[in-house]
């Protein structure tokens, strides 16, 4: 699962090092975010090679335009996730539109539906990865391990009240994945980081 968010200092330093043209910084950036980027792209596009392509686009963009990230605005992780999301959804829409034009398969409404569904799924992934670990582990127990909230409370050594609270809060966060996105700024990435 997600690593703990680094201090903002890491983000700031990284941005400076990238701007300075330090190749070692690019390697560190990749090591920290490649699986996030690739995972989100794969969730949207459902294809390994397409996800590889988006991964390359994302890191090329960050390396070529390090100044387009502002550490004062948001964590680097959030920014990278939003960039990935935008590029992957763009790619999906382009591929689907091409298929629609060439093969006449489906309607524009179906296309929009598929794009939206993939987009929400990727945002949901990101929200789960980024939510506080106590919420995530409660959801994992209740959903994937099918523990009820009392068992979840016992497993995690918390009160039943707290277990109920975590399950509800976790789902509340997750439900923001459905929120309508402003173009280029998916709220899921801002809100849950």
């Amino acid at each position: 699962m997600a690593k703990k968010e680094g201090p903002p200092r890491w983000d700031r330093k990284m941005q400076q090092r990238l701007a300075r043209g330090e190749a070692a910084a690019l390697g560190e950036l990749y090591d920290r975010f490649a699986s996030l980027v690739h995972g989100l792209a794969h969730r949207v596009l459902g294809d390994e090679r397409a996800a590889d392509g988006i991964t390359r686009e994302v890191f090329v963009h960050v390396w070529e335009h390090p100044d387009s990230y502002d550490p004062k605005q948001e964590p680097l992780r959030t920014w990278v996730a939003a960039l990935t999301h935008r590029l992957a959804v763009q790619r999906l829409r382009a591929t689907e539109t091409e298929a629609l034009t060439l093969e006449g398969s489906g309607t524009p409404e179906e296309l929009e539906h598929r794009v939206r569904r993939a987009s929400v799924a990727a945002r949901a992934d990101y929200i789960v990865q980024s939510m506080p670990a106590p919420l995530r582990s409660a959801l994992e127990r209740a959903y994937f391990q099918r523990r009820d909230y009392r068992q979840t409370a016992t497993d995690l050594g918390i009160t039943e009240d707290e277990a109920r609270r975590r399950l509800r809060l976790g789902l509340q966060l997750l439900s923001t994945a459905h929120d309508t996105q402003a173009p280029g700024a998916p709220p899921g990435f801002g809100g849950a980081a």
Partner: protein
């Protein structure tokens, strides 16, 4: 809204390995299990309200019911509680709205996808980037293998659970002509890499990862043993972060020190290597131990890229003449019947080392003195083996007698070179 509403949901949104659908009333847990096990038909959702009331129906207030919405949406509360919640939803619009949102959110829970990234992707992505915008501070060529190998090992460690971290590993190497080994765990191997990489860190003026721990000698083995001993507990997954941080730090530091510093000596206790070779040596060790780890947990692990493999083989080939001389001094090498010393820099009796496969090449190994020059005219023997096999030999993972090598020429020379290759190995 009454009853557990089945919200619209596409099949593809359901985690296929969970076996049950997210919003499916079948997932309501414990109290209904007996009904399910009985083989009787399940009540229709609409009938739930008519189910026989439990002996003591809990009277639940709005705040409690509200707090139950998450558990209810996940079918993680008791049947009595679910019934109470559902009755409440019919009466309370705010809770009904929230309940619907939360139920929909459950449909978004998905198992994380496998995070196994193609290790080659890193190289390809970084190259694309550096082509588009050449770096002002590049990673030196001789540090690229270390950068790539540490990244590959780190990716292998990414999804390890406790079982993997504590899996037993046997480190193997040669001492004299004897195969030797030492038991540790996956985490212990990372501790080993951390403490030996620390030799390079110290040479560069960085912090020694050993901290206050002192080794009897500044050798890789002594440092490792001291580091292992200093902890009261066996090493854990906590080793990963400091190891990775140090490896990033080393790559970064050598990028700044520039190519001129590549010749700076790095002491290994009983010998030393110039910095550029030390970084290659650490890349080689990182790969070898990553393979040890991968074997221990039964994961596949590929050899380094041909470019990096070639540099590692080249380092071993360059170290062979000194290893041969050491064997002669310690009486391990066969008495050289035909040995004839030549002046430094002059061509001497040589063995042709032909390495097959990607990353391979040919090296002429001077046999009689590290100062002599390898020479095709004075070639007395020729061995040919696969690059990965040669590296396993140099890592002490293949006994020299069993190395799969094609051999022509002076048998003593061949035996000496194979044993000298194995003697390059250490813990």
């Amino acid at each position: 809204m009454n009853g557990p509403d089945r919200f619209e949901e596409d099949e593809s949104d359901v985690p296929d390995d969970s076996g049950q659908q997210a919003g499916d009333p079948l997932r309501i847990p414990m109290p209904r299990a007996s009904v399910e096990d009985s083989g009787l038909p399940l009540p229709e959702p609409a009938d739930l309200g008519d189910a026989a009331p439990p002996p003591v129906r809990p009277v639940l207030e709005h705040p409690v019911l509200k707090s139950l919405l998450g558990a209810w949406a996940l079918a993680a509360c008791s049947a009595e509680e679910a019934t109470a919640v559902e009755q409440h939803l019919g009466e309370c619009g705010a809770c009904a709205d929230e309940a619907r949102r939360l139920r929909e959110a459950v449909g978004l829970l998905q198992r994380p996808e496998s995070l196994d990234l193609d290790p080659g992707l890193r190289t390809r992505v970084l190259e694309s980037c550096l082509d588009r915008r050449p770096p002002r501070i590049p990673v030196p060529d001789w540090a690229a293998a270390y950068d790539a190998e540490t990244a590959r090992l780190d990716a292998l460690l990414q999804d390890f659970g406790d079982a993997e971290w504590h899996a037993p590993v046997r480190l193997r190497w040669f001492r004299g002509d004897e195969a030797t080994s030492r038991r540790t765990t996956v985490a212990g191997v990372i501790a080993h890499l951390l403490s030996v990489d620390g030799l390079v860190a110290v040479a560069l003026g960085l912090d020694d990862p050993m901290g206050d721990v002192t080794a009897r000698q500044p050798t890789p083995a002594a440092r490792t043993e001291a580091y292992w001993r200093a902890s009261h507990f066996p090493p854990t997954r906590a080793m990963r972060a400091p190891w990775r941080e140090q490896s990033h730090h080393l790559v970064r530091t050598v990028s700044f020190t520039g190519s001129g510093v590549g010749r700076m000596p790095v002491p290994y206790g009983d010998f030393e290597l110039p910095l550029h070779d030390a970084m290659l040596d650490r890349a080689f060790e990182c790969w070898v131990h990553a393979e040890d780890i991968a074997d221990a947990v039964d994961y596949p692990y590929d050899p380094p890229s041909p470019r990096h493999l070639h540099r590692m083989i080249d380092l071993a080939a360059r170290m062979l003449p000194t290893a041969l001389a050491h064997r002669r001094r310690t009486g391990l090498a066969a008495p050289a019947r035909h040995r004839h010393l030549v002046a430094a820099g002059e061509p001497g009796r040589s063995l042709r080392l032909e390495i097959e496969g990607s990353g391979g090449g040919e090296w002429l190994i001077p046999l009689d003195s590290p100062a002599a020059k390898g020479s095709a005219e004075h070639e007395v023997a020729h061995i040919a083996l696969d690059g990965v096999e040669f590296c396993r030999l140099a890592a002490g993972h293949v006994p020299p007698q069993e190395a799969a090598a094609g051999q022509v020429g002076d048998r003593d020379a061949i035996k000496d070179v194979l044993f000298a290759a194995a003697s390059l190995s250490r813990m």
